[in-house]
């Protein structure tokens, strides 16, 4: 029991910060994020016997978290976590040939917040948390091809949105007017 407890604490809490960071972004409400992370750890502990030492603990924890999150969403009677990509609207601005280079952190946050949830989650796991495609597929319980298409579409939409925001800069009421920090 002691070894099991120590193993769990060592393996699972090594990923606490990453898990909570993703939870904060996915839930967009700190209390809910903390509740869901706690539930994730409790469930992970209960099923720790099924975890194979040497396999990817991070992907395993993310998988439990997204299951808990999806369950929470169902209970809240909101839209399900995963939905067909057919519902995703085409961007109003076409994907730019070149990635915009003149963007601020605020614009990135704004553009990211407007992405459909499946794309946001895939981008978070890949670019912020550095998960491999295989790990993301395991965490979200989806085929690796779906991961690749979500990342590709997510990046296209992000670039298109950033280009649109950039083109608005300088107009009255645009982000440019409110920027205090200047361009990066």
């Amino acid at each position: 029991m002691t070894n099991r407890k120590e193993d769990f604490d060592r393996l699972a809490f090594a990923h606490f910060r990453e898990l909570r960071r993703v939870a904060l972004r996915v839930c967009q409400d700190r209390e809910t994020a903390d509740d869901l992370v706690q539930e994730t750890y409790l469930r992970a502990w209960r099923s720790f016997d099924k975890f194979e030492p040497g396999t990817n603990c991070r992907a395993w924890l993310f998988r439990i978290f997204f299951y808990v999150h999806s369950e929470y969403r169902r209970n809240q009677a909101r839209q399900p976590l995963l939905f067909s990509l057919d519902y995703v609207k085409e961007p109003t601005h076409p994907s730019p040939a070149n990635t915009p280079s003149d963007v601020t952190l605020e614009e990135i946050k704004l553009a990211f917040a407007e992405l459909p949830e499946p794309f946001r989650i895939a981008l978070l796991l890949s670019e912020v948390e550095g998960l491999r495609y295989r790990e993301i597929a395991d965490a979200l319980d989806i085929p690796i091809g779906t991961v690749m298409s979500r990342l590709s579409r997510g990046r296209q939409l992000l670039r298109a949105r950033l280009a649109a925001l950039s083109s608005k800069t300088g107009e009255p009421g645009s982000l440019e007017e409110h920027k205090k920090s200047g361009r990066i």
């Binding site: 972004r25 706690q38 750890y41 070149n98 963007v103 952190l105 495609y133 990342l151 590709s152």
Partner: protein, 290 residues
Amino acid sequence: MGESDCQDIRELLDPYLDNELLVETSQSVLDHLSLCPDCAAESERRIELRRLFKTALTLEADNDRDRENISRRRIKTALEEERRPRRTAKILWAALAASLILTLGLTYWRVSNTSKPVTPAINMPSSMPASSPQVLIAAMDRDAVENHQICALSYPPDWTFDRQRVARGLTPSFAPLVDAIGLNHAAYKLIEGHICAYQQKRYAHLIFRGNGHTVSVFIEPDDTSGKPKPSRPREIDQASFTAYQVASVDTGRHRISVVSDLPNSENLALAKQILPQTISFIRKMENAGV
């Protein structure tokens, strides 16, 4: 270099930067980048956007270390609770078997002697149905004590009040409660306020400290609403669980509890100071339909 070449390469650029391409494909992207300044510049822009993206999305979470530590402690406490029954599983089974034998024995004794009813348990009136208001209220008091142990007692001794942090933690509807109640009551100073969850209920939780004691004020939606209310006068109820005292009132749709390990009379005196302003605040909320 053809335009279609560049288009093909740009489609591969992100998987290339993710290091997810086969070695041969990766090499062909690398070769193209070394010959095509436009695609090389695009690659640099994407690398820079990734760096900014990561900064933008980690900045707030990385500045939230205080709450992160609290969250980590709460999870560890919850895990300890979760582990406890498993560790004592054998003892529990033995206790279950013993209580079954005892129950059978008592039943036999009562039937055979038709004697007076057995004295009810200390706080949970066992002679009442599990859904009776008294039993539900006792369960609410017990939950408040457990939440006090798990949440309030996990704050470090040097934790101090921060108005902005507390306002964020309490959500807009409960944030004015801080000024309604006041920051100081006798030797007790407000150190924390937030909304916390326990046993699938959400509490507005204020934490006071003083004289080496921690005091929690909980406000929760009343679980007994919709069920018959106990015929209690509108005064402070008191209950004890292990070393903790609970003084609570029912506003109609909410229950407000003051929990501490102070002696009963001191906990009650403190509750009498804190509760009037709290009740007034909650009633205003209730009248406003919040």
